[in-house]
Each structure stands twice: as C-alpha cells, then as structure tokens.
Assembly symmetry: C2
Homo-oligomer: 333 residues x 2
DNA sequence: CTGAAAGCGCTTACAG
DNA sequence: CTGAAAGCGCTTACAG
C-alpha cells in the first residue's frame, strides 16, 4: 500500500483516489477558496480511511513554520496542586483548539528564545518572569504569540497572572471582617516559593494598611509540628496577642492547627486560621479549614483564551482577578 | 544576517564559517566517524554563537522520522497528586535525555496509533490500557518504542505499572500486624477511579485471604462528613465490629477520621485508619495519618529508564514493586 | 577532510 | 476545478 518505508503519505492517498497531492491537501485542510466537487471530496476521504492515512505533523510544521503545540516552559518550581489542576484543565481546553501541550523545564541561564526557535510552537506559555529582550526576540522571531506569566503582577503584554497579591488581601479581609486586628503570617522559608510568598505577603500587608490593621507578624517556619507549636506560642503570648493567622497555604494552616492542638489551644477561639488552595483534605481538618480556592478551571479557561486570541492576532481577554478566587468559609476562621 | 524570512539556518552558519551545511551539521551533531579539524570545528561553533543559530526541531524531525519528544497520552483520568509528581519528576529526567514531554488527552474511540503516526514521537507513554492491535500498529509503524501502562497489572511488554494491588495488600499487612482481624474498606463510587480502586481492593482482599482475615467490608461513599459518619457507625456497630479501615486514599482516610470525631469515636483506639498518597496535609490530621507513600521519584526514574532503554533498543529494566511504595507509620493506625 | 545533492512529507502560490 | 513544482530546514549517503 505505502510507497515505501511503510509510511502512508499523501501521495499514496492521491494515487488511490486518482487525484493529486494538492487535492488531497485541499480536502483534508478544508482550504478556503477552493471548490472541490463533493464526489472528488468523498473519493479522497474514502482513500484516507481505507489507507488509515494520518498527516505527519512534523512535515506540516516544517512547511507552516510552526507546529500545533503550546510550549509550556517551567522554571524549577515545584508543580503544586493548583498548577497541576490548571495544566490538567488546560490540556483539555487546548485539545479543543487542536493543540497539544509540550512541557519543558527551563534551567537558569537557558535562553527561552532559543528553545522557541528550536521548537517552533504555535504559542508559548512561560511560567515565571521573561525579560523584555527575550520577549521581543520571541515575538519577533516567529509570528507566534508568546504569552503568559503565572503569578507575577501583570507588567507585560499578554500576561496571565493569577493575582497572588489578591490572595493575601482576601485572606486579610476575611479575618478583619471577623473582627481580628492583630494578625500573624505563616509562610515557607524555601526560596523556591519566594516569588509566590512575597506577592501574597505584600497583598496582605497592603490590605492591613487599607483596613487600618497592624502590619502582620510574619514568621517563616518549617512544616513540622514542633515549628508550628513554637510559632503558635510566639503569636499567642505576644502583646498585643495575635488572634488570627494568615497561612501561606493549607499545609501551613494545617500545621498551625496541629500545633495549636498540641499547645492546648483551639481554633478559631484562641487563634483563627485561614489557608490557601482548598486542598482535598482541608475540609476534613479539625476544625475544617477556611481557605481561598484558586479556581483552576477559571485560570485554565482564561489561559486557553489568551492563547486562542494570541494565535489569531486578537487582543488578550481581560484577566480574571477575583473571578479566579473563591473564599471558602468553614470553621477555622 | 539571515538569508531571508528572518530565520537563521544552517546555510547562514555555513556561509559565515566558510564551510558547507554538511560540515555544520557534522559539528553540531558530533557525527561519529567524521574527523573534523579542531580549527574548522571552532569556526563553525563561533558562527553558531555569533548568529544565535538554533536548529529547527521540526526539520530535523522530518528528516529523522521522529522528533525528540515523549508523547504522554492520558485518558480521562483526573491528574491526581501522585501522577502530577511523577510527571514533574519525569520532565526533569527526560530533559536529561534531551527529550520533552508532550501531553495529549485521548478521548474514547480515538486511535492511539493515529496520534502516534501524526506526532512521530521518540517514545510513547500511554496511561491506561492499550489493546494488542494498537500496540502492534504503533511498534510496527515507526521504529519508536511504545511503552507503559500505569496502574494495570503488567500484562504486556514494556509495561510500567505502579503496583496498585500491592498498595492494598501493604495496607492490610500493616493493619494485620497491629492485630486487626476485621477490616473495612472505604472507597469512591466515581467510575473514573474504578481501575485504581478495583486493583487496590483486590490486593487487599488477597492479602486478607493469605493472612486468614475476613474479607474486608467494602463501602463506597461520597466525600462528605455525613457519609463518613454513617460509614463509621455502620462499621462500628457491625458484629463482629470492624476495628480498622483501609481507605482508598488519604482523602477518604481524613473523611473517616473526621466522621469518627463527629461520632465521638477516636482513632486508633475505636477504629484504626490507613490511607494512601501521603498527602501534604496527612501529617497534620489529628491523629496524624498512617499511609502508603507512592514514591513519585522512583516511579519517574523507572519510567525514564524504560524510555531510555526502549529508544536504544535495550530490554526494559525490572519494574519496581515494593521499592516504589513506602509505609509511613504515624498515629492513626 | 569536505561539499553537492537527494529527500523526509507536507502546503501553497501558480498555471492551466 | 486540478496538478506540477517549489520549498520549508534539516541529515546523510555518496563522491571526491
């Protein structure tokens, strides 16, 4: 069946259908401004089916100048729960656009532009910061869109950012609404979380200012029961004593809850606690954890929309701010 | 600089270095059995640097017959924590082999073989079952290796399976060692978890038989406090009363713990509980959760090894069984 | 040691 | 309405 080497090519289909490769291509791509008689069309499709022909993506990509992938470039970040869920949804959204997700880790010092030149994707989603020069280079190099930066304040064009600062401020707003005036912040020391942490803390700080609260008492701690107990004691015995804790995420929140219990305190009376992420276990902590859900489906849908618009040259859609975030009130605060 | 269209090609480099494209390619690929004088070599590399030349992956792929990606095909499974971690590690491992991970969702009825023909990846990792015919087709179609099936009993060639049945049996073994004779099983009703759940349950069943325990009392429940309370009451009031619960994962385990607390029971005295996954919050439940950790790094390393061997035509390495699993003993069982 | 040339499988002006 | 031909940018026998 195949001409040689086993692979079925457009030429094989053309022969079988008694047309030229050109016609095969026109039919398969629904090329506009071509009028192909239904009868011919059917003959081609029949041959395609008959021979189980699948166009080779690399050949098409070489010709077109770019392939049907969205390159996702990840720095050394741990692939956390929320990001995983976003990617999960995103693969589905992109599939609807005929695109697959190509994941690549990028190491410090590697040039994103070089990777883009190599891969020639339809679009790029870069996690983390991309400097102006590289952005220029990428946008200039191909016609392809380069989009997105997760988690950073939206400084640049086509930036998708999950508003980390807003997370911090939502946490504070909820605690303030519950009457808390003196807040503590429990976050990680690990530099890999730095970017996220600093944005969240700064959002919290700003909200405190706006609401006339004290600046939160920030503590960096390890995720151990001992560290949590110590932190809890520190906050509880301070003057004026801290009455509510903003946790970097549910993990820290759960640690604080466990630390409180070990220290003989109970939430939310002695100390209220609010987390971030709405981890699956969060509703089963005791007391059940109040937290901020970053809606992965909203983020993924927006990301896909940005890519779609970018590829077709349209302006980026308005980024969700509060829409991507949901306060989940349970018992801990 | 570039000949036209903006893109710098091997020809531009060749001109700049005063050699032919052939030589450029030889230098860049370290083609064996070629003896290129150091001086020429340097001249080429210098030109490459000068022009910021990056070979176009699609062109190379077209020529070679396959590209430098590993196609990861996912069925409709939710991308859970463990799988995310595996993928996270895997991207790093594959990067070391010069491969990127291409994620594609596959819908029921879509032909995996067709996707492979389209993408022409260096290797395929298919999650879920792939029938024999398609396996043949994929292996036959290209020279590329098709590998892996997560979670299924290793029936076929090149199969990587995280031994789900072993998870169930490890859970039972631990509970039995603690003196429990009458066990309950708490699992999901959602059919998307069916494959995993059934394997885990069957592993648990088998272990019970081998150890002379009763068959576990399996309950399917929703992840709500109410459902958990009801289940707890059911097990507690049964005759003979169940004394330990095997949970499908930490989420179910945490639900059971919360249900127990709501029902006035305490773990592990009234009912011991063991989970699976070692979720980040698991060490902060009260009491801290005993669980089975599926070591994502071990699984990822093995997966990468399978791919590496497959590509170079070597036999698949022995699959980890117990090595990929670790019993994490805390307080709940 | 080096280069001219073929060819991987597509798409798309262009000519009829 | 249809096809012959060029060309996307590589790699690799092959010939010198």
């Amino acid at each position: 069946m195949a001409s040689k080497g086993g692979r079925v090519t457009a030429l094989d289909v053309a022969r079988a259908a008694n047309v030229s490769k050109t016609t095969v291509s026109y039919v398969l791509n629904d090329t506009p401004h071509q009028s192909i008689p239904e009868e011919t069309r059917q003959r081609v499709l029949e041959a395609v089916r008959e021979l189980s022909y699948t166009p080779l993506a690399t050949a098409r990509a070489l010709r077109r100048g770019h392939n049907d992938t969205v390159l996702l470039v990840m720095p050394d970040w741990p692939l956390g729960r929320v990001l995983s869920l976003v990617l999960d949804d995103l693969t589905g959204e992109l599939a609807n656009l005929g695109l697959a997700l190509l994941m690549r880790r990028i190491r410090k010092g590697q040039s994103l532009a070089a990777i883009c030149r190599e891969v020639a994707p339809a679009a790029v989603i870069a996690l983390g910061h991309v400097d102006e020069v590289e952005q220029q280079e990428i946008r200039g190099a191909g016609i392809f869109l380069s989009t997105a930066v997760l988690s950073y304040p939206s400084s640049t064009q086509n930036t998708v950012s999950v508003p980390q600062d807003l997370i911090g401020s939502l946490q504070v707003q909820h605690l303030a609404a519950r009457g808390h005036r003196h807040l503590g912040y429990a976050g990680p020391a690990d530099p890999r979380f730095e970017a996220f942490r600093d944005l969240r803390i700064s959002g919290a700080r700003q909200a405190c200012q706006e609401l006339g609260l004290d600046d939160p008492d920030v503590l960096e701690l390890d995720l151990t029961l001992e560290a949590a107990m110590e932190a809890v004691r520190h906050w509880h015995h301070r003057t004026p004593s801290v009455t509510a804790i903003i946790a970097y995420n549910d993990e820290f929140a759960a640690a604080i809850l466990a630390g409180m219990r070990a220290a003989g305190l109970s939430a939310p009376e002695d100390l209220a606690v609010i987390g971030v992420d709405n981890e699956p276990l969060a509703k089963f902590t005791i007391p059940a954890l109040t937290t901020i859900d970053q809606k992965p489906d909203v983020v993924a849908a927006h990301l896909a929309q940005v890519v779609r618009n970018g590829i077709s040259g349209k302006a980026a859609p308005k980024a969700p701010r509060t829409e991507a975030l949901e306060l989940v009130i349970r018992e801990s605060a």
